[in-house]
């Protein structure tokens, strides 16, 4: 009886081995033999796909994948693959995941990481391995000061976003008493600090919350805000915490305006707060509205993903296209790709991209917009922040 079982299992194992080998063989045949294009390479997406701030990562991954699909339509199926790495947006998960990414020699570039905290953790590993990265959304200014030659930021950083938020609070909301809080993350605390320094004496009190997804009861912070008499509240952090805060503030009877950064620029904020409470909340973003993206991007995105393009989807689309253009031009090693990106001047659907020597976006190309949540929980563009 046992012998029979062993024979069956052995036979099945051999069959599986043969099938796997055959599959492997056929795959490698198709990539080398298909065309003269530079195929068989991978660009990685590294960032949140699950977790409390997942939407922000998914928007970017989907924008990047759209670019890869359009490229493969022209150059052969599976010519370039996008390899996804889910960091859950967490700086704890990021380093280990980054180490496994750099061992894959087919990966010659990274779109991401989208969050500043995980960027601080993973970018040194990418830099040591020489893998070029373009982040469509990590805005912490200090990221470009570490001397990482592979770092490129496709948007303005918080040194542009922070003052824009502060200017909006002072000039548009005309608030003289502002409460500032953050979630102690690299992004949230950094942005809140810039806003605090720009607002100066208008800041009546401050507080800190736990990281996004780690706290649901904000009654102590809510109590502080109500007691401070502030008419505007700036929260440096991501949309889930911001939404819960907004909901609990409304329940406590606070009637001021809540302002957030690009981490709050997502319909997930209205889902957490409820449409009524979220209506009127303001978010800034170093991005133009996705609806303003040129060409057919908006409809292409909707056709592929059956949903509207989200925050930074268009920037991620452009970032991936920079990599793809680099591959077209024959830059198929990480080193050559990095040199290519350093000197690129690329007109995409969201913006034109030229990088400085530290990897920042050329300052003449910076855009910062303010958005508002309307009564149905959607984000609508409000106004572009004036260039200071």
């Amino acid at each position: 009886m046992r012998q029979g079982l062993v024979r069956v299992l052995g036979g099945a194992a051999i069959l599986a081995l043969l099938a796997g080998a055959a599959a492997c063989n056929s795959k490698s045949n198709s990539t080398t033999g298909s065309s003269n294009k530079n195929c068989g390479y991978k660009i990685a997406y590294f960032g949140a796909l699950t977790g409390s701030s997942a939407n922000l990562g998914v928007n970017i991954e989907q924008g990047a994948e759209l670019a890869v699909d359009q490229y493969n339509d022209k150059n052969g199926a599976n010519c370039i693959t996008i390899q996804k790495f889910d960091s859950q947006g967490s700086p704890d998960v990021a380093p280990g995941l980054a180490r496994s990414l750099v061992t894959d020699k087919k990966i010659i570039g990274v779109v991401g990481p989208p969050f500043s905290g995980e960027s601080e953790a993973a970018d040194p590993i990418f830099s040591d391995a020489g893998i070029p990265l373009i982040t469509p959304s990590a805005t912490r200014p200090s990221l470009s000061t570490h001397g990482w030659k592979v770092f490129h930021r496709a948007v303005a950083n918080d040194d542009a976003q922070g003052p824009a938020a502060a200017a909006y609070i002072q000039n548009v909301l005309k608030a003289t008493k502002v409460f500032v809080a953050d979630d102690q993350s690299a992004y949230g605390a950094g942005l809140a600090d810039v806003v605090k320094s720009k607002l100066g004496s208008a800041v009546v009190d401050t507080d800190k919350t736990a990281a996004d997804g780690k706290q649901t009861d904000f009654s102590a912070t809510v109590q502080k805000i109500v007691a401070s008499g502030a008419t505007a509240f700036f929260y440096g952090g991501y949309y889930q915490n911001a939404g819960l805060l907004r909901k609990q503030l409304t329940a406590a009877g606070w009637k001021g305006v809540q302002v957030g950064g690009d981490g709050v620029n997502d319909p997930g904020f209205a889902k957490a707060a409820g449409n009524d409470a979220a209506a009127g909340s303001v978010v800034t973003c170093p991005c133009a509205p996705a609806s303003k993206a040129s060409g057919t991007f908006v409809s292409d995105y909707k056709t592929k993903w059956n949903t509207d393009a989200g925050t930074y989807s268009d920037v991620a689309f452009d970032a991936m296209n920079i990599f793809l253009k680099g591959i077209d031009a024959g830059n198929t090693t990480p080193d050559k790709m990095n040199t290519y990106i350093n000197s690129v001047n690329y007109s995409g659907v969201a913006n034109t991209y030229k990088f400085t020597s530290t990897g920042e976006l050329d300052s003449s190309l910076i855009k910062v917009w303010a958005f508002k949540f309307d009564a149905s929980g959607a984000v609508v563009p409000d106004q572009e922040a004036p260039k200071s």
Binding site: Q215, S219, A220, Q223, V226, Q248, G274
Partner: protein, 316 residues
């Protein structure tokens, strides 16, 4: 240290702390009862609570209510509250009984060492919360605004809202009822007997298995009620919302005297208020640190907790 801020907000911090503490107290009952009878820390109790929150939300969803619905009329609100409470109580109770039946009873039958109970408890907790997380895609679920917070009483800058009165009042009434149940009914006497000495109780004719199931059921019922109060207060729930609150509830149970019902109430209320004061004094990011420092300080001087006695201590 923000003394002026604390002084200025003393009243509101106390009231919101008491409301949060009342929820923690109801939640802590499950831990304290099970420990008193079985000497087991039921880590899965936090998931019993969390499942209750979702049960109430999905029941209200069945009636077409979601977080963007308008607040219904008073009669409808009372009706929805009762239905929500019933759903949460039933689901939490059943979950508690299931956990007891599937996770702990087989171990008891085999006289497993205490470590096996501990690991099973943690495993059950993780299994249930992960499963709910998979089904809800780890998203938060908003709560219909059944109770629009409205200030009922104003004492200076102490504004006491209707929701806070409801939560604190309900917790006090339930604690009183449970206290009378444990101390003045036959079933309650059985619980106290098993807590004192399970084998002697069995010799005296108490059905040990049934008493243990009853203890789990009562803990589950209380957790279900705490769950509904929690969602009305916080406005959202998530697959892991039981976890953090569970740690606080267990801490409250230890603070008040594990195995002691009144201790759970006192511990819960005290913990809620102290956390708020620490948050007001040092900033919200310190509130957990402050609460645990107080806990350690109290345990150093009174290791059995504030009210000390356990469930099984004989009382006339």
């Amino acid at each position: 240290m923000n003394f002026s801020g604390l002084f200025h907000s003393f009243g509101p911090l106390t009231i919101t702390g008491l409301a949060q503490g009342a929820i923690i107290a109801l939640f802590a009952l499950g831990y304290t009862l099970v420990y008193g009878v079985l000497r087991l820390i039921n880590f899965a109790h936090s998931e019993v609570f969390m499942v209750g929150t979702f049960a109430a939300l999905y029941t209200w969803g069945f009636f077409g209510l979601d977080q963007n619905s308008p607040t219904p009329s008073l009669g409808a609100v009372i009706g929805y509250m009762l239905i929500g409470l019933a759903a949460a109580i039933v689901v939490s109770g059943i979950t508690a009984l299931l956990v007891e039946f599937v996770a702990y009873r087989p171990l008891r039958r085999r006289n497993a060492p205490p470590l096996a109970f501990l690991i099973t408890a943690i495993g059950a907790s993780l299994a249930i919360s992960s499963t709910v997380g998979v089904f809800t895609h780890q998203n938060i679920k908003g709560v219909p605004p059944l109770i629009r917070p409205a200030t009922v009483v104003h004492l200076g800058n102490w504004a006491i809202t209707n929701l806070q009165i409801l939560i604190i009042g309900l917790a006090l009434v339930l604690m009183f009822a449970l206290d009378r149940f444990i101390n003045y009914t036959r079933l309650g006497r059985g619980i106290r007997a098993v807590a004192q000495n399970p084998d002697s109780a069995a010799l005296m004719g108490v059905n040990k298995g049934r008493v243990i199931s009853l203890v789990f059921l009562i803990g589950g019922l209380m957790a279900g009620i705490a769950a509904v109060m929690y969602v009305l207060k916080i406005g959202d729930t998530k697959f892991d919302s039981g976890f953090n609150l569970g740690i606080e509830a267990f801490t409250a149970a230890v603070l008040g005297g594990i195995g002691n019902l009144r201790g759970a109430l006192l511990g819960g209320l005290l913990l809620g208020v102290v956390e708020n004061y620490v948050a007001g004094l040092f900033g919200t990011q310190w509130h957990t640190v402050g609460a645990f420092v107080i806990l350690i300080a109290i345990l150093m001087f009174r290791p059995t907790g504030l009210l000390g006695e356990s469930l099984g201590r004989a009382r006339a």
